[in-house]
């Protein structure tokens, strides 16, 4: 840009002024929509969580009474504990399987493309479809249990889906089936981005292959691990469809998660106030993992 000031620039015409404002005008509808539907609604839900609303929203404020009720609610604790178990296992197992498959696939494998396609396709399915399929596979009378018993292992038992203590683990199995291939794709992309010369140098130093992966490659993949954990944790907190389709939150409410708790109370049990309070706590959970992530992301961008 030169500094010569043309008369046109000194006194902008009407169309010139419009041009200058156009980018903002184009962005304005989306920004307004998000301001209202995201931030406005978050505030609105917070307000609802402070009221005694039941069937219909009412604005009769009861302070943090709904949160106190939530804390005293056994079903909420079951749902929260389930989320801890489900989230931790889901994230950990996906990471292990994803990293392992990516490393194995990175060994100049024949038909790598075909294998990758097979590993990843479940991610294209709806969690409802996944839930319906696994409900069928886990059905004790006709599914995997019956099949293995039919092979002659009469005492084989795999009836987790009807066992209140084990139902939560069936959610882990189905969710891992759906998402671990995606984690594999993330790791594979990360591995392909690593400079070969680092690995060659380590080989010349006489390091063994497992040692190279653990000491040299894995540290390079830290950002991938970080992103994967973020995305998986996010999927875990939002998990709603899978529970509805696979266990329905049952037996009883043994496999409830906060997302299903919120929906049941807000939409089926006429407990809008309580449902709103649980939604706010879910938001709190997301923020607790999101803020450190965004913080480190912004910092790394500034430094490099």
């Amino acid at each position: 840009m030169t500094h010569s000031i043309s008369p046109k620039a000194r006194r902008p015409t009407a169309s010139g002024r419009l041009q200058a404002w156009l980018p903002r005008l184009v962005l304005a509808p989306s920004a307004a929509v998000i301001l209202f539907f995201v931030y406005g609604f978050m505030l609105w839900t917070f307000v609802l969580s402070l009221t005694s609303s039941r069937m219909l929203p009412s604005y009769d404020f009861v302070g943090f009474g709904q949160y106190a009720r939530l804390m005293a609610n056994d079903r909420w604790w079951v749902a929260s504990t389930n989320l801890m178990i489900f989230g931790a296992l889901f994230v950990a197992v996906c990471l292990v399987i994803g990293a392992l498959l990516a490393i194995l696939l990175d060994q100049k494998i024949r038909q790598e493309g075909a294998l990758r396609t097979v590993y990843l396709y479940p991610m294209a399915l709806s969690f409802i479809v996944t839930g319906v399929v696994w409900k069928w596979l886990l059905n004790p009378q006709l599914g995997i249990q019956a099949m293995v018993q039919g092979w002659g292992f009469e005492s084989f038992r795999f009836d987790w889906i009807v066992d209140p203590n084990m139902a939560i683990y069936t959610l882990v199995i189905a969710a891992v089936w759906q998402a671990s291939g995606f984690v594999m794709a993330l790791f594979l992309a990360g591995l392909r981005g690593i400079d070969d010369s680092i690995i060659k140098a380590a080989q010349l130093d006489g390091a063994s292959l497992p040692r190279i992966y653990w000491r040299v490659v894995m540290p390079c993949l830290r950002p991938v691990v970080f992103s994967a954990v973020m995305i998986l944790a996010h999927i875990a907190i939002k998990s709603f469809d899978l529970v509805v389709a696979l266990t329905g939150g049952g037996p009883g409410y043994a496999s409830d998660l906060p997302a299903t708790f919120m929906y049941t109370h807000a939409f089926n049990r006429a407990q809008i106030g309580l449902g709103s309070a649980s939604a706010m706590l879910m938001l709190g959970g997301v923020l607790a993992i999101l803020i450190p992530y965004l913080y480190s992301e912004l910092r790394s961008r500034r430094h490099g």
């Binding site: 962005l27 978050m42 399929v133 006709l142 907190i237 939002k238 709603f240 469809d241």
Partner: protein, 292 residues
Amino acid sequence: MADAIRRQTVGARLLRGALYAVLILAALFYALPLLIMLITSIKPLSEITAGSLLSLPQNPTLAPWTKAWGEACTGMRCEGVGGYFWNSFAIVIPAVLISTAAGALNGYALTKWRFKGAEIVFALMLFGCFIPFQVVLLPMAQTLGWLGLSSSRAGLVLVHVVFGIAFTTLFFRNFYVGIPDELVSAAKLDGAGFFRIFWRILLPVSAPIIVVSIIWQFTQIWNDFLFGVAFSGHDTQPVTVALNNLVNTSTGVTEYNVNMAAAMIAALPTLVVYVLAGKYFVRGLTAGSVKG
């Protein structure tokens, strides 16, 4: 590497065999549920109760598919999932097109016409990608009521557009950041305006990111259940909701073959997209996570 392979010892060859064995076992783990779903959907019910999961159909039949499509009960009605399948398309197509167009313009305005506060606007929009949707469900239900859009397809289109814009803006912004600014500033000096530059310079190179955005939005909205179950009516349910109703409608004997056929019907569109454009699907999945 080549001579290393030539000098393979027995141990190395065994290791290589084990490697393939593990990879193939993993492939079976992912592939078998889909295969079993397919096999079950073409078995008569008698073969399902008598045989096992993996036994192949003796008398394959398409009856479960036609029943799932046109006759099976989803709640009170017994019209199959066919109508809801088209509902999903009627919701998905406008929602995908609108959110992609808005995302393209937003990304362009944010990167090529940087103005004060653009970064903050983007950060605030980005946050829309991450909220748990439970936090907007109740206000949304009430707002749709006020707009006269309760239980309508238009209402669902609106919801999907609103919560899709954050993602599409992210896609296009990250893509347009990589397009050299010089192209745009040269056109600006020539007196080209905002839309002309978008149309003539940015749009012609945007094909890959448009595909990524369309595929991402298509799978997201097609697979949605939460908004569908919360905001649709009897006639306007998307296919995921109808599938769930079909599976949970108990009228005497559970017809597993019909359930599996309905699940296949609900899964097919996104599977087809994945098979045809898997590369772009993966790129959309990783767009938000891996920088580059």
